[in-house]
């Protein structure tokens, strides 16, 4: 039984190793030269690590969001969390131009928290049987927030910055010293691993959760914080990475179900693997130039979303 459960995990680790190696080796600079070690430690290794942390954290945040909302078609990027975090970041940048990174992080997290809370209160008014209205509401809500952010950015000459946050999440700027915030995202996602059972029970419904002696509101708050912090850290460091939190959990769930205790670590590794793959594709497609990983994922993720939406139900 334990061996059976461990198998997907082992497979994911085995798949991740060559991907990480490839990520370390791809680039314009020659690693065999005198500067090879330096390039590796300042640029390649931080980038590879950042991609894996981001992928893992976003995939886990996607699962958490789906358990909170009890809907498969949501992720932080389609519920206004990302745009609200960008809004918080933008407002903090405008209000306190001198503020340190800490202030901005807090502003982004609070923004993400508020945006998600509004989304959750919005969908409470939807008829419960209309499952697809929930992602639709989320998409429009994030669209409205995104338009506000873009407009403020345009008015305040910060459009370049806003454009990166909302449209071109990428890792080409990652070097040592400029990605460490992602550890906080990784830490928040790690919290979800510890709370896996609680989140899974919450997904069974408030009544079941309460019946088992759990406080659904407390678990909900924990989940909200995890989602907001992961999204805010990723937004502030590399910008929006669309659809990863939706695609990876859905596929892992199809293969091994939603017993989060067993599936969350696999989801995290799969998220890291998918993002590494997309990053490598982005680096190779027009070498020596780069495509932002968000552009690659935008196409791939939207395609998979459509497939998930239209695949015949009940055959899994």
């Amino acid at each position: 039984m334990i061996v059976l459960r461990a198998r997907p995990l082992v497979l994911m680790v085995l798949a991740l190793i060559p991907l990480a190696l490839a990520s370390l080796l791809i680039g314009v600079a020659d690693l065999s030269g005198a500067q090879g070690g330096l390039i590796l430690s300042i640029s390649r290794w931080p980038r590879t690590l950042a991609v894996m942390l981001t992928g893992a954290a976003l995939a886990v945040a996607g699962v958490v969001m789906q358990e909170l909302v009890r809907n498969r078609f949501v992720e932080p990027g389609t519920t206004g969390t990302g745009e609200a975090a960008a809004l918080g970041l933008l407002l903090a940048t405008l209000a306190f131009p001198e503020a340190g990174i800490g202030t901005r992080m807090i502003a982004a997290s609070l923004g993400g928290l508020a945006g998600t809370a509004v989304f959750l209160s919005l969908i409470r008014h939807l008829p419960p049987q209309e499952v697809l209205l929930i992602p639709l509401t989320g998409l429009i809500w994030s669209g409205v927030l995104g338009a506000v952010v873009l407009h403020i950015g345009w008015q305040t000459d910060l459009i370049q910055l806003v454009g990166i946050w909302l449209m071109t999440g990428e890792f080409s700027g990652v070097i040592a010293g400029r990605y460490e915030l992602l550890w906080i995202a990784g830490l928040a996602a790690g919290l979800a691993l510890f709370a896996a059972d609680r989140l899974a029970i919450l997904g069974l419904g408030d009544g079941v959760a309460r019946g088992l002696g759990l406080n659904p509101e407390a678990v909900m708050r924990l989940g909200l914080v995890i989602v907001a912090v992961v999204t805010a850290m990723v937004m502030a460091t590399v910008g929006m990475i669309p659809f990863l939190g939706l695609v990876v959990p859905n596929i892992v769930s199809r293969v091994m179900g939603d017993n989060l205790r067993a599936s969350l670590p696999v989801t995290a590794l799969a998220g890291a693997g998918l993002l590494l793959t997309c990053d490598i594709i982005g680096r190779l497609l027009i070498f020596p130039y780069e495509l932002p990983v968000s552009t690659v994922l935008g196409v791939l993720g939207a395609g998979v979303f459509l497939w998930l939406l239209w695949r015949r139900p009940g055959h899994d």
Partner: protein, 319 residues
Amino acid sequence: MTSVGRLPWPGLWLMLALLMVGAVYLLAGLGPRADVVLPLRATRLAGMVVLGVAIAVATVLFQTVSRNRILTPQIMGVDALYILLQTGLVLVLGPVGFATLPVAGKFTLELVVMVLAALALFGTLLGRGSQDVARMILTGVILGILLRSLANLIARLMDPNAFAVVQAESVVSLTRLDAGLLPFAAAVTGLAAGLAVWLAPRLDVAALGRETAVALGLRHDGLVMLALALVAVLVAVATALVGPLTFLGLIVVALARPLAGSARHLPLLITASVLAVLMLVAGQLVFERVLRLQSALPAVLEGAGGVAFLWLLLKGRIR
């Protein structure tokens, strides 16, 4: 049935209001350099007229075809299709080849491709998803994201530093109006709007539902395809002029329905068009001259429209 019929009173009042607002927009505070300012304003005013009519007519047609009153073609990603096609044409013809094409020829080519692609894509989608409205709309929204991402990808494959291209596409600006395109856009919009007016009696029948319409002897499916083709053309015009305006059509048509005083398409098309132009011109007047916020109007309209859409969703007005 085919007579134009009397214009209802609200429509007349709206037109009078539009004339007045238009005159104020053109003439107020001209200053000493009227010879420079007046043509500039006239161009912008003409642009707003074309834009308003295009958006209003496209939305009315699209809502009839999709049998849904909270949709606009842009929510379903029709404008993203246009952006993708434009990028695709640049890829096929090369940036230089694309730029050296005459405006009229280039735009005609775009429109033809757009109509074919829209019929193929949205003809199937609307036909297929009519039972499950939420799934159909969600599909449209995601399709829009997919098409936009593809356009983004293609643009970057051609030019890795295509920052500007991507950003310009995603921010609407009424002041960025392409004057060279305007005469052609006006002609196309006039033609399409005229066609829509001519089709109005048939659209009234189509609005009763496919079964009833067929029973009454209407060539329903052909009409739907024709209406979709008009939608594609009008959305292409609007998008080419100012960029993606997702929700303006929703507000305009939602307000125009009660004002038109009838569920028939002729008064609705006219009222919605006049209202759209009025909102654009009056809004621009307020934001440009009074509040001195050059480019805030589209953002305000889009924000309000998005909130209105959310409100309708939550109110269960999806059907």
